[in-house]
């Protein structure tokens, strides 16, 4: 067990995957000498050489599209997209190609690539650097989307994503890269399934569901609630697509009240699917509607006001009050 930041945990996971399988390569902007703008690939080019750690030209479609081709040649490419807001030029290669090669070819061609995508706000940066674009990917059958909430989870998820025969987007909560440290067992083999949610706090009165950077907010809220005498269960989705409905619904049925949190705007966010499915499958168990605590329905704002945009512990608590009042 070592104490690692989330950034270092991802580096360690990536590096371990590259050690285990010499067909794992990585490609992205500035990931070589610079080690990436977040230094996630720091030292990897020195260790694995220019061939396996490729600085790409400045073109996101090029990164994902050539990664697909390398995968067709037997490689397992891990793409780094520099920031959340810059993934859209690669959209066609992700939506029309990566996600459906297996389907369109009835399994003759697959796309075992990983797309690492730093995301999330409250990082005090400029436009396009604090966004949460997951809702643009979730309507896509054939695409896996995961997001870790702790260094240990990040270490495991990046390896599982690389092992997965499906294309996986790993949404990395960039706010936690360097701010969150935790215990990581570097020798533990990646265990369990890629699409399992985790109940990270047990509770009985209300279920708080989140993923990535929101999980620590929900845990803080649950603590405050405990002090106030309320018992909240916290579910870390880990996999945003597909969602582990069994875990989600079990918790919803148990508590009868559910709140979903994410940083992306409310409209058509991941919370919509959660609410829609939970109200359908747990209709008789719900004591209050599924409520959403989310980013606002506007583009990501300038950073001086971003704390009013990203869900805070306060906003979660206020929403819990609303739910409990039903």
């Amino acid at each position: 067990m070592v104490q690692l930041s989330m950034a270092k945990a991802i580096t360690a996971g990536l590096s371990r995957a590259m050690d285990r399988n010499d067909h794992v390569v990585t490609i992205g902007q500035d990931i070589g000498k610079l080690g990436g703008v977040f230094r996630i690939t720091d030292g990897l080019q020195e260790r694995f050489g220019h061939k396996r750690v490729m600085d790409s030209p400045l073109a996101e479609a090029g990164i994902v599209g050539t990664a697909l081709g390398m995968a067709q040649r037997g490689y397992v490419p891990v793409c780094e997209i520099q920031f959340d807001g810059f993934v859209f030029p690669a959209f066609d290669q992700i939506i029309n190609q990566a996600s459906r090669l297996r389907f369109r070819s009835q399994g003759q061609v697959t796309a075992p690539i990983v797309i690492r995508l730093p995301y999330g706000g409250n990082v005090g940066s400029i436009e396009h650097h604090g966004e949460s674009p997951e809702a643009y990917f979730t309507p896509t059958p054939g695409l896996r989307i995961v997001s870790p909430s702790t260094p240990a989870d990040a270490y495991e998820l990046i390896q599982q994503a690389i092992d997965s025969p499906d294309p996986v987007i790993v949404l990395e909560p960039k706010r936690l890269y360097h701010s969150l440290k935790g215990e990581v067992d570097l020798d533990a083999p990646p265990s369990g399934e890629l699409d399992r949610a985790r109940v990270v706090r047990l509770g009985s009165e209300i279920t708080l569901i989140g993923y990535g950077p929101m999980v620590s907010t929900l845990l803080s809220a649950a603590k405050v609630l405990a002090d106030e005498g309320h018992s909240a269960e916290v579910v870390d989705l880990r996999s945003i697509a597909p969602i582990d409905w069994a875990t989600v619904e079990t918790s919803a049925r148990k508590t009868g009240r559910v709140i979903v949190a994410h940083e992306a705007p409310r409209t058509s966010g991941v919370g919509a699917e959660l609410a829609a499915r939970i109200q359908e499958h747990c209709f008789y168990a719900l004591e209050s509607p599924v409520l959403r605590v989310t980013g606002l329905d506007m583009p990501y704002p300038p950073s001086r006001v971003e704390t009013d945009y990203v869900p805070s512990v306060d906003r979660v608590l206020q929403t819990v009050d609303r739910a409990l009042a039903y």
Partner: protein, 381 residues
């Protein structure tokens, strides 16, 4: 190697007018077009390139061209008879396709667009696999690894990046395979294609971009597609660009063979612009009379890539039986293919859940069961 970097500006007064090339001839932009066989099937001497195929090899090549055209006719017929949703004829582009693919090793990977019927048949793909796409039976399903022939790609240009990545993988392997990727004149406008050219150059990838310039992207002539021809564009990305008479089997073969040899030797990518013509409609849903003239079509009919080889083969003393046997083979193949196409039935929709993810998620399993139950209730009716 011929230099094709001459750039003669073709700046026109009002570009919005999109003037068609006067008579549908080759563009007068000063870029040389490599030719080894003229429209009459007469040999043309070229300072750099010479025919690389023996008469036997040409006969083999011609056979595939001929059979592909026969299937093409069958595709169009089947569509007219309501048996296919759509058919995209390759007619007229057989020399470009077969000239290129015969210049490769069978293990060199090919990434087609959606018009490469002749290439596919050369690689041994059962044409039914293509016809069934157009019948709505499957999307694109064949054994890519065994054939070294990629899936058809209906998103224009998207395949070029994947081909480039595959070629980067060849380099990573330290192998000497070559990759050929097919695209049209229209496709060159997609940003993804420029990115592919750039990645190919930067990573010195062994990939050949074969642009079948058939003069149109659906209704838009090349004059409305670009001012700098594909062959000229290559130079700006740092790779050789060669224009070749795409209706000349021998020339296409020679040019692609040279590009393949260069790529194999570590010399990186090449763009080959094969000047050709889509004799048929864009697809059976198209109406070319809206955008091209009778004269232009006749001009190009006179440049038919099959006629040219046929003449050459006759000049070489190929006996009449060769041609008559081939005609019979074509008819038999067409009859067989037609019968098998008509017999095709689609997989049930629930079977398709097998291909969404490697292992279906719990939600997919659940949905599949629901759909199965629902469909069962319908059968009862």
């Amino acid at each position: 190697m011929t230099s094709t970097n001459a750039w003669i500006p073709r700046i026109v007064g009002d570009a919005n007018e999109h003037p068609d090339d006067a008579a549908g001839g080759m563009p007068a932009d000063g870029i040389e077009t490599v030719q080894l066989l003229d429209a009459e099937g007469g040999e043309v001497r070229h300072p750099t390139y010479s025919p690389q195929l023996s008469a036997d090899e040409v006969r083999d090549a011609y056979r595939t061209m001929f059979l592909a055209r026969r299937i093409d006719v069958e595709g169009t017929n089947l569509q007219r008879q309501g048996q296919l949703a759509l058919w995209a004829p390759a007619k007229g582009q057989e020399a470009a396709q077969i000239g290129a693919i015969t210049a490769l090793r069978p293990t060199d990977m090919v990434y087609p667009s959606y018009r490469e019927l002749a290439m596919a048949m050369h690689r041994g793909l059962d044409p039914v696999a293509i016809l069934q796409i157009m019948r709505g039976i499957t999307h694109a399903t064949w054994d890519v690894d065994a054939l070294h022939f990629g899936l058809f790609s209906f998103v224009v240009g998207a395949q070029t990046l994947q081909a480039t990545g595959y070629a980067m993988g060849v380099t990573l392997d330290g192998a000497d395979d070559v990759v050929l990727v097919c695209l049209g004149d229209g496709a060159t406008s997609e940003g993804h294609v420029s990115e592919a050219l750039n990645f190919a150059a930067v990573f010195n990838a062994p990939v050949i971009f074969l642009v079948q310039n058939n003069q149109y992207a659906i209704s838009v002539p090349t004059s409305g597609q670009f001012r700098g021809a594909p062959a000229a564009r290559a130079a700006g990305f740092g790779m050789p660009g060669i224009r070749v008479d795409g209706n000349d089997l021998l020339a296409v073969h020679a040019v692609v063979a040279e590009a393949a040899a260069r790529a194999r030797a570590g010399g990186g990518p090449t763009l080959v612009e094969a000047m050709t013509y889509r004799i048929g409609a864009h697809t059976t849903a198209d109406d070319p009379t809206r955008y091209r003239s009778r004269e232009e079509e006749e001009l190009w009919a006179g440049r038919d890539p099959l006629v040219r080889i046929e003449r050459w083969l006759r000049d070489q003393g190929t006996p009449e039986e060769y041609f008559s046997e081939l005609a019979t083979e074509g008819d038999e193949l067409a009859t067989d293919v037609r019968a098998r196409v008509l017999a095709l039935t689609p997989d049930g929709i629930t079977e398709l859940y097998d291909y969404v993810l490697a292992e279906p998620s719990a939600a997919l399993v659940e949905e599949r069961e629901q759909v199965e139950r629902y469909l069962a209730t319908l059968e009862g009716r």
